[in-house]
């Protein structure tokens, strides 16, 4: 029996014909990388291929690596297998990876979202036979509000805090969420300060996107300077001494998990904004339909529930265990250190 075009191995998703891995979690010779989050782009591969907008990101994170950047839709052939990268809309430089051999097409999403956030190249559905999809938010409880409305609420929240002469601290992942927030913060309200992890990553991305001015918080920054202004910080900074020095402050988190009242209360955050870089429930269902795929493989998130639902809807759907999703889990929120400061 001929083996499938892509297989799930202990190293990662593998194309045996091309001898190439997609987002492998163990060191391999040849890796195609969907995007720069740590659970998808890991250390130790001999050769990396990714979208050119992701190149500076993974170089910043992984240091000296052997990496080739590709254009959207540019076909590259490895051992007769055709590969191409297509926008996934998750973060800057995030791609879906299309794999074609002998007329059969597979698409691996990495992580993706359907809403155009204005900084990541917007998601495009790609026709395929087999669609390997994430389903981080694969439950009908997750339905996103349009970004413009959420960002307006965030700016209003900042303005209210400023009126009370308090510092606003907004948590978001240092790669992706932080830049999406930064792009739309209203600089008429006040100044934007950053945590080191966010400042460093933003500097890397400034050549690609026009962001408002930011000021890095250093040892010399006085807390009086921060009053009325906003601080962008990674979730791991919550509860740290770094934050405690900023009193009086108000905290907020921008994440899909903020959908749950319990999630916000558990972290003792004052305010939760529901803003995600993943698909919501309708987004997942629409994109699956748009691919025209007959086979669906769910990699991370509420995989069992989501694939069961897809099977009921007539899809040939299954789940495969991967090591993706760490970036987004609750555990990661706590364990991700501020070591990169």
């Amino acid at each position: 029996m001929k083996s499938p075009l892509l297989q799930f191995t202990s190293n990662g998703i593998y194309c045996e014909t091309a001898k190439v891995y997609l987002d492998p979690w163990k060191p391999v010779d040849h890796a195609i990388i969907s995007h720069g989050h740590a659970d998808h782009s890991r250390y130790g591969h001999k050769k990396y291929i990714t979208h050119h907008r992701n190149v500076p990101i993974i170089q910043h994170r992984l240091g000296e690596i052997n990496v080739i950047g590709k254009e959207w839709g540019e076909t590259f052939i490895i051992n007769n297998v055709k590969f191409s990268l297509h926008p996934a809309g998750h973060i800057i430089g995030s791609s879906q990876i299309r794999v074609e051999n002998k007329g059969e097409v597979w698409v691996f999403t990495g992580d993706y979202k359907t809403e155009n956030d204005g900084i990541s190249t917007p998601y495009e559905p790609i026709k395929c036979n087999t669609f390997i999809t994430e389903c981080t938010f694969g439950l009908p409880a997750f339905k996103w509000t349009p970004q413009a409305e959420v960002l307006e609420n965030i700016n209003n929240w900042w303005a209210e805090n400023r009126a009370e002469c308090k510092t606003s601290i907004l948590f978001g992942y240092s790669l992706g969420k932080a830049q999406r927030l930064l792009k739309y913060l209203d600089t008429d309200i006040g100044e934007i300060y950053t945590h080191g992890a966010i400042e460093n990553m933003t500097q890397v991305l400034r050549p690609l996107v026009d962001f408002p001015k930011t000021t890095l918080i250093t040892r010399d920054t006085k807390k009086e300077q921060l009053l009325g202004n906003i601080v962008l910080a990674p979730p791991s900074a919550h509860g740290s001494t770094w934050i405690r020095k900023m009193v009086p402050y108000v905290t907020a988190s921008a994440s899909g998990w903020m959908t749950f009242r319990g999630a916000r209360r558990r972290r003792a955050i004052d305010k939760g904004f529901v803003l995600s870089d993943h698909c919501d429930w309708p987004g997942l269902l629409e994109s699956i339909e748009a691919t025209g795929a007959e086979k669906i493989i769910c990699t991370h998130g509420y995989t069992d529930i989501f694939s069961k639902y897809l099977r009921e809807q007539g899809y040939d759907a299954r789940t495969e265990a991967t090591q993706y999703g760490e970036e987004e889990t609750e555990a990661a929120l706590a364990s991700k250190s501020t070591a990169s400061v």
Binding site: L139, P140, A141, F142, K143, W257, T259, F260, R261, G262, A263, R264, R265, R266, A268, D270, K271, G272, Y302, D304, I305, K308, Y309, E312, T329, E330, A331, L333, A334, S335
Partner: protein
Amino acid sequence: MRNFAQLIKTLDSTNKTTVKVQALTDYFLKADDADKVWTIAILSHRRPPRPVNTTLLRTWASELANIPLWLFEESYHIVGDLAETIALVIPAADQSSDKSLTDFLQEMIALKKKTDEEKRAYLYENWSVLNYYERFVFTKLITGGFRIGVSQKLMTRALAKATQIDEDILAYKLMGNWDPNKITFQQLVLEENESDYLSKPYPFYLAYAIEGEVSDLGDIQEWSAEHKWDGIRSQVILRNNELFVWSRGEELVTDKYPEFEKFIGVIPNGTVIDGEILPFPKGVIGTFNDLQTRIGRKNVTAALLKKVPVILKAYDILEWEGKDIRQLLFIERRQYLEKLFKNVTEQSKSKVTEQNQNVIPLHLSKTMHFTSWDELALERDRSREMHSEGLMLKRKDSPYLVGRKKGDWWKWKVDPLTIDAVLTYAMRGHGRRSNLFTDYTFALWKDNEEGEKELVTFAKAYSGLTDAEFRKLDAWIKKNTLERFGPVRSVTPHHVFEIAFEGIALSKRHKSGIATRFPRMLRWRKDKNIHEANTLDDLKNLIP
């Protein structure tokens, strides 16, 4: 409804007590009187009976959301709150309702008697138009129980600020049985009305646990000691030839303990006793497990009454000859209590006829006086043989206060029993632990018939770990699930925890044959592997 929903949102979106009190105070200052009464009722767990059962709610919500019921159920296990799940899965809408909170509650009361078809129409109508937060609050009013970190005490404090009425007086007024649909704000909060007070208990005074050294309490001569009884804290009220028994949860439980009917005519009217309801099988104090068979039973059978009779272990007296004597000193109140007890015992003796059938079930919790803290510690060591859970220390010259206040009453419990057990099952938590596996089942080793070792579950626990530990364990559980049984997952036996518990007794209801009281996780024993966990026999050896 808009104002009430806004209030709930504010209360729910802050962890700061001052902000909560301020939000409630502002609400009490501007809300309509009827809405205020309902708000007090809801925040003190006096909601109207549920008009629609949850099975129907789940079915209809999944229909309106156009998802299969199983998917709704899965979502519910993850969200951890039924009203929140319903509000989330139903298609978005954006209207705000002009109807008042009272209007909604009256509709819900009327709804109870309607047909299923009418109920469904009513829910659909509101679910389809209300915006997310009002839809959530609306559904919460139907399912009941707002757990938003607002205690009755906090609510009372805000009401005191808004009305300028003393907080302790308000706490008293809000106690007992009142129907938010029949009482006005004037009657409930503002008016003085003697006849309403017939059944009313006093707010309980609650003790703090001793932190640090007991000798830090100073001169032992100032303290009176008693054993700390492990039953149901309650107030027994005799007024106007009527008996009222209140539990600490402010639940009227008179009907559950018919033994106390014997107090009528023996204990004089105008008496309120503070004490502990204790099981008393075969003439000795039983375990809390014995009492479990009585709690929650509305219809107490004659057989059960005979098997597990209860007594009242009295330790304080709050009203004497119709007068509130809480301001008297503890030792003065005890004199009244002992006098009462003496009278009752004498009457009881004269009434004993056949087989002790008419013994009045009133016992006195004896006070003890020590000359040194070491002597007191020795008495504490006897707690388990005395069927108590430790000692209570009460300052001799203290009045009876309201609520949990530090200083005059302390509990000094015996150290818990502990055992090392293996984590075998996990379930997601609720509220702030939604979507996180925090409710665990633990097992101990036992030799089976083939002489092999197997794990037998013996207790469930969900407290005692830090948030960081819960998150770690949650991530581990998600990766090490063996099987799923609805919301429950079995996990690879791997982690050992030191489980602490207060009491232990044989039990037919438990698979292990043993029931533990208030099990919780004391420590995550990362230093132990599962073969170093204890056996079921080790646990049995702890039974006194």
